[in-house]
């Protein structure tokens, strides 16, 4: 079986995988990082969003071997020294979740949205940029509020 090595949340990791092993399977099953969720498994819901070399991608549609040598950040990698990332804090403050299943992907997308659109990102931009993240509980309202709040504190 081929071996893959990459950086995950700053640590160099490696493991045996198959050609068909998805990045999300490697993260969850091999590394035990179960914060990245699999919702639809068809690249639509965005619960599996992680950052690969700084870009937000759907880990259910990326091959683990294609990430060889790359740097991956998952939801577990956002908090620093026991303090939540400002975006995580904003989701808590604004109650940007109900069941919480989509939340890891929402937060990873949110951080990416702010990185590309700045701290003063407009509500309409956030709503458009959330195209690839589905929440079936909240109606998005508090998620959008949380992202605006988190953006101002990032």
């Amino acid at each position: 079986m081929p071996t893959v090595s990459m950086k995950v949340n700053g640590d160099t990791v490696s493991g045996e995988v198959e050609g068909r092993t998805l990045l999300v399977e490697f993260l969850r099953d091999t590394l035990g990082l179960t914060g990245t969720h699999v919702g639809c498994d068809t690249s639509q819901c965005g619960a599996c969003v992680v950052h690969v070399d700084g870009k937000a991608v759907k880990a259910c549609t990326a091959l683990a071997l294609a990430c060889e040598g790359q740097s991956v950040t998952t939801i577990e990698g956002l908090a620093k020294n026991g303090a939540l990332h400002p975006m995580q804090e904003a989701f808590r403050e604004n109650h940007g979740l109900q069941c919480g299943f989509c939340t890891p992907g929402m937060i990873m997308s949110a951080v990416d949205i702010v990185k590309r659109n700045g701290k003063k990102v407009k509500e309409a931009t956030i709503r458009a940029e959330l195209d690839g993240n589905i929440c079936r509980c909240t109606g998005y309202h508090n998620i959008v509020k949380a992202i605006q709040d988190g953006a101002s504190k990032m």
């Binding site: 050609g19 068909r20 068809t42 965005g46 991608v57 549609t61 990326a62 091959l63 949205i113 993240n133």
Partner: protein, 264 residues
């Protein structure tokens, strides 16, 4: 998903050798269509030859033409500053494909090689009269796209770049499927000057096609009014749970008007 051998060559020549050697293999670029297709077991290649290792990406804007390398992602095309000045409609089109995560991976080369009948890029290539540069030859967009999921590419031929002449004005409007963002109908119009206007339609038929009656009318008068009353025949158009053929035919007219009105 069935298992496969994974290859990530760094040179185009090596990629070509690999696909020649592995008769049941498949080339993969961003993988945004191929991976989901394999997951559904609609494709089960023995080998995946991942082209992202070639580093063949980037946009180069010259005086009269633009070259977009095949591995350029939709996100890169959407945000390229020089391209925004040269062909803004192409940036807008790329920014409307899928969602942000898909745009970070999906590439122009992968999209056109797949030739999904509802993909956006084929309309851009045909309306802009683009040239596809492959590992073996150059061919016009008109000759490149063949029909549903079919192109002129041979099995071991790799798309390397797309060359776009810079038009005087161009615009793209699509009616996206609200779930997938694929075009139910998308119309790209391009005014190349001297009475040469091209109108390409995606999403409506088995593959991208030119709406020649509209081209003629717009060549005489490049305004939204000029396409009023020009019907598109519903006979060969797609019909599914999202829209009837007649509805799609109607949308061609509406999208053409919007594309012309928004042309820059």
């Amino acid at each position: 998903m069935h298992d496969f051998n994974y290859h990530r060559p760094t040179k185009a020549a090596d990629a070509q050798k690999l696909i020649k050697k592995h008769k049941d293999g498949a080339l993969m670029s961003g993988g945004m269509t191929l991976v989901p297709t394999m997951k559904q077991r609609l494709a089960a290649p023995s080998d995946i030859i991942d082209l992202t290792g070639l580093g063949n990406s980037g946009v180069k804007v010259l005086k009269t033409k633009v070259t977009v390398h095949a591995g350029t992602t939709h996100a890169e095309v959407a945000t390229d500053k020089d391209l925004k000045k040269a062909i803004p409609s192409l940036c807008a089109l790329a920014g409307g494909i899928g969602d942000p995560h898909v745009r970070n991976c999906g590439t122009i080369g992968g999209s056109i090689a797949n030739n999904d009948p509802a993909a956006d890029y084929p309309a851009a290539l045909v309306a802009l009269d683009a040239t596809v540069v492959t590992s073996k030859r150059k061919l016009s967009a008109d000759k490149f796209f063949k029909g549903m999921f079919e192109t002129a590419l041979s099995r071991d031929e790799i798309v390397m770049a797309v060359e776009f002449p810079i038009p005087d004005k161009s615009g793209y409007a699509k009616f996206p499927n609200p779930a997938s963002r694929y075009a139910m109908v998308g119309v790209y119009v391009a005014d190349h000057g001297k009475g040469n206007v091209r109108v390409a339609v995606t999403g409506a038929g088995a593959g991208v096609f030119r709406q020649k009656a509209m081209e003629k009318a717009l060549s005489a008068d490049f305004s939204a009014n000029a396409v009023s009353g020009i019907a598109t025949k519903a006979d060969d158009l797609n019909e599914d749970i999202h829209a009837s053929a007649e509805y799609r035919a109607h949308l061609v007219g509406v999208m053409a008007k919007r594309a012309v009105a928004g042309a820059k």
